[in-house]
């Protein structure tokens, strides 16, 4: 428990907080990666998910991609792209997008797919076009599942963004890897605690957002 006290002291020490290599800067980088990756994953996953869910075709793509994403070791993808494109930001971002997209895709797909058939038929009967059915009925009603897809993607990305520092990126992993190499347990623990806090806080934000959207869908 001694290490734990020292780690907490390290986190609390203002000397470690500011500057380009301080806790706040590294945490900012970590959040930036997460937001960037989720944004790219959303750009790829949401349109494809909606298309598959709306037209009820290509369900196999969702099943295969989520299955493959679970089996693919992210560390492997990260190091592979790292060796091919060199050290920098591309490898971690690309690897994280590969990791995050299937969750987002599955969330978008299942959200639209699970909308009650009678509701969709009713919308059609009222004379709504395909596009209106999608944008006014299926997308709003599918929002809670989309958000829970984004939530699980976010959780995976925050956790795995720690590995970005392994191939030359920034983020909270920057504290972790030198500490592992020098057996600096205090620093290892401090960095780990920071990542956990960030993960739990971001997850709580999504949980709150999910609740808000569910409430919004129900009351409208």
């Amino acid at each position: 428990m001694n290490y734990l006290m020292e780690a907490l002291q390290w986190i609390a020490d203002p000397a470690n907080r500011y500057g380009d290599t301080g806790i706040l800067a590294r945490m900012g980088e970590h959040v930036l990666y997460t937001v960037l990756v989720l944004g790219i994953a959303a750009l790829i996953g949401i349109p494809i998910g909606y298309a598959i869910g709306h037209f009820h075709r290509g369900r196999g793509i969702v099943v295969a991609s989520t299955g493959a994403a679970r089996a693919l070791p992210t560390l492997g993808i990260l190091t592979l792209i790292g060796v091919v494109v060199g050290i920098g930001l591309v490898a971690p971002l690309a690897a994280l997008v590969v990791l995050a997209t299937p969750s987002v895709l599955a969330g978008a797909y299942s959200g639209v797919e699970n909308v009650d058939r009678t509701t969709v038929d009713a919308a059609r009967a009222q004379g709504m076009s395909q596009w209106q059915v999608l944008t006014r009925v299926e997308i709003p009603l599918g929002l809670p599942l989309l958000i829970s897809g984004l939530r699980s993607a976010c959780l995976q990305v925050v956790a795995t963004a720690t590995l970005a520092a392994y191939v030359g990126g920034g983020g909270l992993g920057r504290f972790l890897f030198p500490a592992i190499n020098t057996y600096n347990y205090t620093l290892m623990l401090a960095a780990s605690i920071l990542v956990m806090i960030l993960a739990v806080v971001l997850d709580a934000c999504f949980a709150f957002g999910e609740r808000l959207v569910r409430w919004g869908v129900r009351s409208s």
Binding site: M1, Y3, L4, G67, A68, R70, A71, L72, P73, T74, L75, G76, I77, L78, T79, L80, G82, V83, V84, L155, V158, A159, T160, T162, L163, Y166, V167, G173, L176, F177, I180, Y185, M188, L189, A191, S192, I193, V195, M196, A199, V200, D203
Partner: protein
Amino acid sequence: MWRNPGELDYRKPAHAGERTLSHLVLSVPAIILSFVLALPIAVLANRLRRLRSFLIGAAGLIYAIPSLPMFIVLPLIVGTTIRDRLNVIIAMTLYGVALMVRSAADAFTAVDLSTKLAATATGYSPIHRFFAVDLPLAGPALLAGLRVVAVSTVSLVTVSALLGVPNLGMLFTDGIARGITAEILAGIVLTVTLALLIDGALVLAGRLLMRWERAA
């Protein structure tokens, strides 16, 4: 593959067979433990409504802990060293239980209530009913959950290679250290293959144990 005679330091690549075996030693116990531990927790969670939301929330919280920090923090709690295999097995079991409790709780909830009541009315004791009725009927959904646990465990174990625990992930760390693309690729292929093999074994076991599924 990449046989380095005389160099058996943990940082050096041993041949892939040895890494695969270490990988199995880390993942298989964790997969089995996750399943065995998750079942009673799921049953308990379904019995006590208030406990259910607490347990499932706690499971979600465990899943929010990134794996690399988990491997580092666990030794402090368990009292092992950082490079101990036990850490990895415990960490993977925790993640596995977190995933499995939710799907097992859902699986048991989905069992038709009238079937359960009928069994009780026929004179099944609670324990007998659990093993003879609830468990088999929840079987397919439990298997689906277990398959997710198995595949993600095999892939997540690779992260522990960063701390020097031998497994297939070492083909990545060694590959990037020496700039050998083929070694990393081989590591990915071997990890995915291992995950799919275990998944296939589970499907096969499910078919053998749940013969009624095919007849239906």
